[in-house]
Amino acid sequence: MNPRARLWLVVLGGGGLAALLVAACLRLPAFGGPWHPYGDRAVRAALARHIANTIASVNFDQRAFDTMGEMTILFAAVLGCVVLLRQARDEHRDPPEPCEVAAPVRRYALVVLPIALVTGLYVIAHGQLSPGGGFQGGVVAATALHLMYLGADYAALERIRPVEAFEIGDALSASAYLVLGFAGVLAGGAFLANTLLPYGTFNTLSSGGTVPLLNAAIGMEVASAVVVLLARFLDQAVEIEEGSGS
């Protein structure tokens, strides 16, 4: 296909998409109106199960099956990265030289690492009470560990981060989500139905039945998956060299 025909194809496709989007926008309800059919029902369902944050109720109760799909996508994506970014036969590992970091940067990283880790765990634990949840907190906790790479060097990060343990943790927490789903079936309900545990007192950590447990499973899964993903990227960027060694 010559460039001219390609341009025409793009113009045609883009123009059609734009026309459809404009037509769809014209039929949308007005911005900020008082009519929220889905929102009203979701809030009612969340309050019936003593969950303060409706978003957590949608993610881990009303649409828990969708969340399982998203978790599977993340799991598969990380698995694909691990396979793609492995050390090939014509590559060798060349451990990086220890590097020099200014003292204030190193001190900052060492102080902020535990603070960020605890904040990530706080965001995971309060998923059904305030904005946040497993995904957000898991990413924060995983990012916190990589302050070791920024504030010291790659060898220091490797010393506090056993990748194998995080790979196992990733698989374990993904299966924990499935086990919790099947527990609903065994208890006589449906897959991932939130009928297993008492709903507890509204606005406490134990409220919402299985929601806090599913939330914790997702938090652990995301944190492990991000650590494994970044480990492969760091390996490729810092350690693995082309050529089969000299």
């Binding site: 911005f31 900020g32 944050n53 978003i55 965001v123 904005p131 946040g132 949840g133 995904f135 957000q136 907190g137 990413v139 924060v140 995983a142 990012t143 990589h146 991000v226 993903l229 970044l230 990227f233 760091l234 490729q236 960027a237 810092v238 060299e241 082309e242 050529g243």
Partner: protein, 87 residues
């Protein structure tokens, strides 16, 4: 008048997204992308979606830049390596 902050956030997102596309160097694109992440978090907050805003902050402020910059470093090292072996 109450929507002024929404307009500000939308304009910032539109401007930053355009700047991210207009830049050609991946390192500079990553810088614009990091700022775009915070602008998107503000937009989600003023649209009363703090959960999505938190996701955007968590991913966009440190994780995405780190992934992009590590890929840039790998590509640069590979091309430098290729030059060395040719000489």
């Amino acid at each position: 008048m109450a929507d002024a902050v929404v307009v500000v956030a939308l304009l910032a997102v539109a401007g930053l997204a355009t700047a991210a596309v207009a830049n050609r160097d991946p390192a500079r694109q990553a810088l614009v992308l990091a700022v775009l992440g915070t602008a998107l978090a503000v937009l989600f907050t003023v649209l009363q979606a703090p959960d999505v805003g938190l996701s955007q902050l968590a991913v966009g402020s440190a994780l995405t830049p780190l992934l992009i910059m590590l890929s840039v470093r790998k590509v640069r090292r590979r091309s430098a390596h290729g030059k060395d072996s040719k000489q």
